[in-house]
């Protein structure tokens, strides 16, 4: 509380404030700065910056991780762009996103709207919906693989009760990706709900009340007040979901390992297989940079395009 109250004062006194530690320069000061920075700068350099550079360098070579590297310039990139397996991996990733994002957004929005109004045990319910978010992907994927087991799974048993013959889920090339999408939406529903709930609670009640006085129906109020005012939260959910969606891996690896018959081979699975199955570290590195470039591009386009549909205030 005291921090909050002191903030305006801090701003007013800012010029004076800098007169303190800032003026003490020299070797002693440089030593202090180094002491504070190095504990993170050294590991960051060793385990992030150097690998980044190394990844780019590797992407310009053909390398099986054992024999000497062979320089191929941009050859890996050129090859990947025309490679059917790479194209398929990008398509599968897009398929995942196209199924996952609408499902998790509509579900999360529905839940957020339902839970935005007072009801008994609301906190507990929120906690329950959030539970899969904190559970590890490996556990979630294993639980769903078991639920969706074609022969002995409880989902197909339940479908059988209502006279539906359940599909082969993750064993069927046509149903493997939907299985992964289902498990992923189930896991992230609570995350989207919490973000949208925070957005909903920031919308002043007066807006809804004024529209009610004007005789607007519940649907029109939702469509013309709630949705536009929720657009910053929606924007955030879409940006984060796309960044994560392009990197989908854990659940694919556990549930299908990219199969059956390559039907769920996504970009990161392809990077993994190129490196550790086909011994093509150079191509794998090039593919990871292509993925990064795509994610960056999509994110920039969204940030540029947000003026068209995102309403602030």
């Amino acid at each position: 509380m005291s921090v909050q109250q002191a903030r305006p004062a801090a701003r007013a006194g800012a010029p004076v404030a800098h007169a303190g530690p800032k003026r003490r320069r020299g070797w002693r000061y440089a030593g202090t700065v180094a002491l504070f920075l190095l504990p993170s700068l050294v590991p960051l350099t060793l385990y992030t910056l150097i690998p980044m550079a190394g990844s780019f360098w590797t992407s310009l070579h053909e390398w099986d991780l054992i024999t000497d590297m062979r320089w191929v310039g941009l050859g890996n990139y050129a090859e990947l762009v025309g490679d059917p397996d790479t194209q398929a991996a990008f398509l599968h990733t897009l398929y995942f996103i196209a199924g996952y994002l609408p499902l998790v957004y509509v579900g999360g929005l529905g839940l957020a709207v339902l839970l935005n109004r007072a009801m008994p045990a609301r906190g507990l319910l929120r906690g329950v919906y959030f539970l899969p978010v904190i559970t590890s992907w490996v556990v979630v994927a294993l639980m769903w693989k078991w639920l969706l087991n074609p022969a002995s799974g409880i989902v197909n048993w339940a479908l059988g009760l209502v006279g539906v013959s359940g599909p082969g889920w993750w064993t069927d090339p046509d149903w493997a990706m939907p299985s992964i999408i289902l498990a992923s939406a189930w896991k992230d529903l609570g995350f989207v709900m919490i973000i949208l709930l925070a957005g909903l609670q920031a919308i002043p009640r007066e807006y809804q009340e004024a529209a009610m006085v004007d005789g607007a129906t519940a649907w029109r109020r939702f469509r013309h007040i709630t949705l536009p005012l929720l657009s910053p939260s929606t924007f955030f959910v879409v940006v984060i979901s796309l960044i994560n969606g392009f990197q989908v891996f854990d659940q694919v690896q556990i549930m299908t390992g990219g199969g059956p018959g390559g039907a769920t081979q996504v970009v990161v699975s392809q990077i993994y297989d190129l490196t550790f199955r086909y011994g093509r570290a150079g191509a794998a590195s090039a593919l990871s940079w292509l993925l990064f470039a795509l994610v960056l591009l999509v994110t920039i386009v969204q940030i540029r395009g947000q003026k068209r549909w995102v309403t602030y205030g």
Partner: protein
Amino acid sequence: MGRVLRYLLVGVGALVMLFPFGWAVITSITPSDAVLAVPPDFTPDGASLDAYGRLLETLPFWRIVLNSAWIGAASTTLQLVTSAMAAYAFARLPFPGRGGLFAVYLATLMMPLPVLVVPLFIEMRAFNLVDTYFALLAPTIASAFGVFLLRQAINQVPREFDEAAVLDGAGHFRIFLYVVLPLIRPALATFAIFGFMASWNSYLWPLIIIKSPEFMTLPLGLATLHGQFTTQWDVVMAGSVVSVVPILILYVFAQKHVIASVAQSGLK
């Protein structure tokens, strides 16, 4: 919308969220010869903890749980220390090139893990560190995200507080320890919770760098178990239950705080 319908929807949804966990528990105590039975038995006869026993025989399971716990604790502690110190430098210690260096930190945040894992593996291999605790821990010592989050928090601390300490003769270390750190405790807690969860649940990096069961963490151990015994669902579910329980306990205590910080920061 009718109140009844609203409660019904929310209630059914909550059941859909809880059911897979419940079913994992039931499967884990079902006798192994009845696991694949159709129709499934919700109250299995002869329920036993047999699957948990076999879990311990198949993998050095306690060791794997212990690995996850200490790696999680170590990685969280290291990240807290290194990030808080760097955050203090970026917020309170002006030096030439500070803006540029901070931009470098932020840029690493955008690197997807897949870009890093292959060269990181090669780097670890070059130093003979494949299949060691060190390799598991090393990439998590520094966290650019933590530096970003904690710097935001430190910027909220009024500079008058520092100055008062300076007048009392305190140097930067004492200001950092006794003035700044106590005031950013909520941000430290948020970061600690997410750091621990990230480590506890991490899969891709352990999958690449760890081969021996004795260095495995839980997600990798579970995945290995699944790879070995595709049909032994009771054992796999027993392992899943064991790996969810600790994070569940942490969650029950920190739930309000976790949800509030997700809502604010958009982390998960």
